[in-house]
Symmetry: C2
Subunit: 396 residues, 2 copies
Amino acid sequence: MSATVDFAPLRDYLEATDLDGYCIDADASDSDQRYVSGFTAPDPYQTVVTPDGVHLLVSGLEYGRAKTEAAADSVTRRSEYDYRKLVAEHGPYEAKSRLIAAFLEDHGVDSLAVPRNFPTGTADGLREQGLSVTVEPEGLVEDVRSTKDEWELEQIRATQRANEAAMATAEELIATADVADDGSLVHDGEVLTSERVKTEIEVTLLRHGCGLDDTIVACAADGADPHDRGSGPLEVDELIVIDIFPRDKETGYFGDMTRTFARGDPGDEARRRYEVTEEAYEAALEAVEAGVTGEAVHDVACDVIEDAGYETLRSDPSTETGFIHSTGHGVGLDIHEQPSVAPSGGELEPGHVISIEPGIYDPAVGGVRIEDLIAVTEDGYENLTDYRVGLEPSSE
Amino acid sequence: MSATVDFAPLRDYLEATDLDGYCIDADASDSDQRYVSGFTAPDPYQTVVTPDGVHLLVSGLEYGRAKTEAAADSVTRRSEYDYRKLVAEHGPYEAKSRLIAAFLEDHGVDSLAVPRNFPTGTADGLREQGLSVTVEPEGLVEDVRSTKDEWELEQIRATQRANEAAMATAEELIATADVADDGSLVHDGEVLTSERVKTEIEVTLLRHGCGLDDTIVACAADGADPHDRGSGPLEVDELIVIDIFPRDKETGYFGDMTRTFARGDPGDEARRRYEVTEEAYEAALEAVEAGVTGEAVHDVACDVIEDAGYETLRSDPSTETGFIHSTGHGVGLDIHEQPSVAPSGGELEPGHVISIEPGIYDPAVGGVRIEDLIAVTEDGYENLTDYRVGLEPSSE
């Protein structure tokens, strides 16, 4: 199973630019490749979209699986173009261009559009073989990917269920920890560090079929830098930001959620920041519906935070405290994709999946961030996240 | 800490081709970028190697960390070239080319070499800004990366220690399983599936600071396809191939190891194949030393397997049973990198890290593969793997 791809924008582009095909040369870690081909392989393969079909060129090793799994009109293996002979005669570099040129020619493609990240080695090689290669500058495939079909929404919901289980693991560790004399949290007789909580989050995700490269469990000043993953002992009376963005190992779809907790008493100012962040999060959620721009949703979050007396990048582009990132981003096969819920963020459409994640930061107080993942609908949104919002950690 | 990079081959290439610099435009998931810059960031950044230095261009977000961590002579942030203004005036696509062109100009680079996978969008954009861009076709950086320094060897050894712990977890599960009436292995009252063993492998790796995208636990006919990850119940009297290739989450260096086990009696033919594979593995190991080619080592493994009466891709390029892959590959920041221990594999050099992994496959019997990770030395090899070879699983 894979997403049903709307090829119309790509084909409109080909027609408007008078080009014969759109070609991707990448392995499946490139989400555009994975999406357009409906196939995954660890080594680069080639997909070309023409006015009347989608065609794959794969190694012999991947041929059988590609025939069964890929969402393509045809699959060709390299050996059909005497690839070994090409390598023997021209070396691996030129052989690859000759191979792809022959494949494209068979599909009537002399002039092609390619994504910005198309390998220059392939582009220049194809040019040497007489093809014309033009970069499609807007990121059309990423744009198509931003609208999810029902099957994709189901995959993202499934990842977010795993995410909720992982967040519950983390919250329970913090809720049930003891407090040592020096203020650090202690669990089962050992100091509860950021690293330890991250490991338990990741173990929970693994047991739910998800993996992830990174997690944020950031206490006190660490949490005031949105890019700090956090390290060392977690402390009582401090804000602890937990941001989890797992990826389903099979489907490749991401989830994303952030909660902020504090054991003990983080102080009045921290509590106030939590309330303001929660208010901004709720206001931004309520502002979401098809036709509203990402920029407008971001402005709603900024309004709440500025009205409460904190800086935002809108009120002061150089501020290093306050609300110092955007309100959200698209989530799908990439953790950060279109659309953008930020200045210059365009119109939201039904099927867009976005995070809503305002936050307020200051090294002197720590960080607060609250994040849900939602799907945009005609008249509002569906919250894909089912997890309590609250500063005090609970073990239930 | 990071590897000490030998820039001489790149600088020799620049001198020979009369080019001013070698530029990488990629995020740190590109191992060449990670290696040359000594830096990791999730979004693309630019590194240029000139005759007298290594220079980085990064976002403001990464600037502080890059100044501290990168192995570079200079780090520049985008704002120094008024990047926001460039985006406002020219749009994000052209702004990026203008930004990088200005950065390159500041380092005296008008003509540049780029790797094959350099983004065509950037290459064509720089050409529009008047720079000359030439693809370096040989993969010079990957070639430099193939020779590991002592610090890198230490990182690979550390990953391989985690790998050994994970393999022990898997072996113990198989060794201590009960056998149900239908022949499936059962552990703690539940069927022991490939999926379950993989999860326990990955949990063990996580607890040792390593992650991985994939593991192979393949029983019976599944194990006869070297690319099948395995699924479903593990069975008594069948060969079970376990191939683990973890990556350290901090350093990015991979480990790699395969063992084959069987509970009960897999039969005389399976045992014979195990013995022949072990003999091929030992012969290949003994053949390794600096100055010997990867092809020669591969030939030694093929000799043993063919002498025992099994096909290899050398004896029959179209065979689908027998020894149907190469003897080994380089391992480092990528799981598959230079050098190649295969037909056309070049001369091994001290500091090369390679796998030695012969195997014999047939769907009717199952698969056998035995793999260690080793470092090439002047007069032989250092085995980076410390794990017993044996068909019968042990819980000790």
